[in-house]
Amino acid sequence: MTRPLLNVRDLRVTFHLRREGDWPWTPPRNLHAVSGVDFSLNPGETLGIVGESGCGKSTLARALIGLVPAEGQAEWIDGKDLIGLSPGKMMKYRNDIQMIFQDPLASLNPRMTVGQIIAEPLITHNPRLKRPEVKERVKAIMEKVGLLPNQINRYPHEFSGGQCQRIGIARALIVEPKLIICDEPVSALDVSIQAQVINLLIRLQKEFGLALIFIAHDLSVVKHISDRVMVLYLGKVMETATTAELYSAPLHPYTQALLSAVPVPDPTHDMAASIVPLAGDLPSPFAPPSGCVFRTRCPRATGKCAAETPVPSGDSHQIACHFPGPLTEEEIAAARRIEAA
């Protein structure tokens, strides 16, 4: 088997938050945004990460790229652990890992031209490059992402959202990275533009042999682009499987509930009949439930779920659940009754 490009073991991100007006000696409250995430990513593979708002998707991405301090292990292909590297040593890897952001316009400096924006990573990593060569490479990459190279001197506000996202992609690609982390790259775009950007990403991935970590809350987009999908809930991995397996036979109750909520483009389809409701709201991340974090909303939770934390088990299809398996009719009916009450 080939060595994975990135092997993440027990990644944890904890924020120490202080409330406004706290005394300096008051201990800060700890928020476990990501707790104990494991996954591995092969070169050229796409890993989709899905979950509700606030489940730690974006924090996970920022931890990998070193924007937020994290603990645990993230082993790069050359055997180096990326977590806790000094900024100087991390510099070498920033070349290989690039990121695409959610808000296309906000991720571009309004006072810089497109050419300057795209060239920034290139100049940062190769300060000795001559100006004409930089311009040449910027123009080449603009062509690759479907922008007219003669628009190099324009400013971000002169472009549409989709074009801005292409600029963001060009900026990520120009240093020829091995991995691009896409943090909800299409959720700010409308559907037809989403398709263009996704297909562009797929095309570029094939061309450059890129690995992608694709974060989204839109399950159908993730299905389209990912090889494998990881489901997060409250900073923990619930289920990881190949896309086909996860979408056709989800085994974790949370994944099943999540998938049942995907809109179906069919006006005669009765959503209410197929949806599995989840009781209550997302628990506070300051005080996550004991044992399995999903137990407070799970239709199948028992005493064991509160006492023991389930460990992800399985080979290619990993599930962190004591009682995996498709939900039965009775369980769904029971969940509906709770929801109605």
Binding site: R94, N109, N153, Y155, R171
Partner: protein, 308 residues
């Protein structure tokens, strides 16, 4: 078809070939600025005042130090503005030419305003941007220091400084410069805090751009709008401060003069019927302030169209 194929083809080629010139946010702002009526009145006014300050002395018949003995002693009767004897603005109480004194006063007042605003701009921007960008404890300490300095009644300190270390123009610049950057650094810090969490800063950090480059390349250019507006509004405030100090008799010393000092002298002698001694310095003082305020307002509307 009626459309000439060759022409259309060449047009299409040109559109693909040439690098399109972008319309920068600055160009947009310039357009909005020139649509502002008050600002386009203020701009030529300011240019005229500056030209007056720079080149006025070439038109003066009398220097600012010469005493006109023909006028001395009967200023109220003989010292009125006249073309014949070369005192275009009349003379002051001692028989000195008010025209060249006004030119000199305008020079000094402008210089105080511009130097004060420049110190505020450079020190305030760097201090505020650094505090906001570094954040945490450093930010706390830096901003508390500003709070402490601001809580000192600066006019009192300034007057004490001038009394203790002698009334020199250098001391006046130092004193005004020291107080002017405080407000600016607060404004800049606030702006930096809101910029810091924007995604383009995060993108720069993710790709490994060093901190000082993020400040100079990403944060400062995005702050410049606010800074420019505040600086133009600061210039008249500095002029006012200097005038007040000079009015108290602590600022600029003879033979130098400033608009504030001239107005003070003019006000003293107004009971003798020498109205011109107050009117001319006051006129230049007022149009300078008006011009700066109009331009500052115009810049604000042009640079932050959202915050109107």
């Amino acid at each position: 078809m009626m459309i000439e194929q060759a022409k259309m083809q060449s047009l299409a080629d040109r559109m693909v070939q040439d690098d399109v010139k972008g319309r920068s946010p600055w160009a947009d702002a310039r357009k909005r600025f020139f649509r502002n009526k008050a600002a386009i009145v203020g701009l030529p006014l300011l240019v005229l005042v500056v030209l007056f300050a720079l080149f006025g002395e070439f038109f003066a018949v009398w220097s600012n130090e010469e005493l006109d003995f023909a006028v001395m002693g009967q200023v109220a009767q003989m010292g009125a503005p006249s073309i014949e004897n070369g005192h275009y603005f009349g003379t002051d109480d001692l028989g000195r030419d008010l025209f060249s004194r006004t030119v000199q006063g305008t020079q000094i007042s402008m210089m105080v305003g511009v130097v004060g605003a420049a110190i505020a701009m450079i020190v305030g921007t760097l201090y505020g941007a650094a505090a906001g960008f570094i954040g945490g404890r450093v930010d706390q300490i830096m901003m508390r220091l500003v709070d402490i300095l601001m809580s000192i009644p600066y006019m009192f300190v300034l007057i004490l400084m001038l009394v203790m270390f002698g009334r020199s123009i250098g001391m006046l610049f130092l004193g005004i410069g020291m107080i002017s950057w405080l407000e600016m650094s607060r404004i800049v810090r606030g702006q930096t805090l809101s910029l810091k969490n924007r995604e383009f800063i995060e993108a720069a950090r993710a790709t490994g751009v060093p901190g000082w480059k993020i400040i100079t390349r990403h944060i400062v250019p995005n702050l410049l709008g606010v800074v420019a507006v505040y600086a133009t509004l600061l210039v008249p405030l500095m002029i006012l401060t200097e005038s007040f100090i000079s009015f108290l008799g602590l600022g600029i010393q003879e033979p130098l003069t400033s608009l504030g000092a001239l107005i003070s002298e003019g006000a003293d002698t107004i009971t003798y019927g020498t109205i011109w001694q107050l009117a001319f310095p006051l006129f230049f003082f007022v149009i300078t302030l008006f011009a700066f305020f109009f331009i500052g307002d115009g810049l604000r509307d042009a640079l932050d169209p959202k915050d109107r």
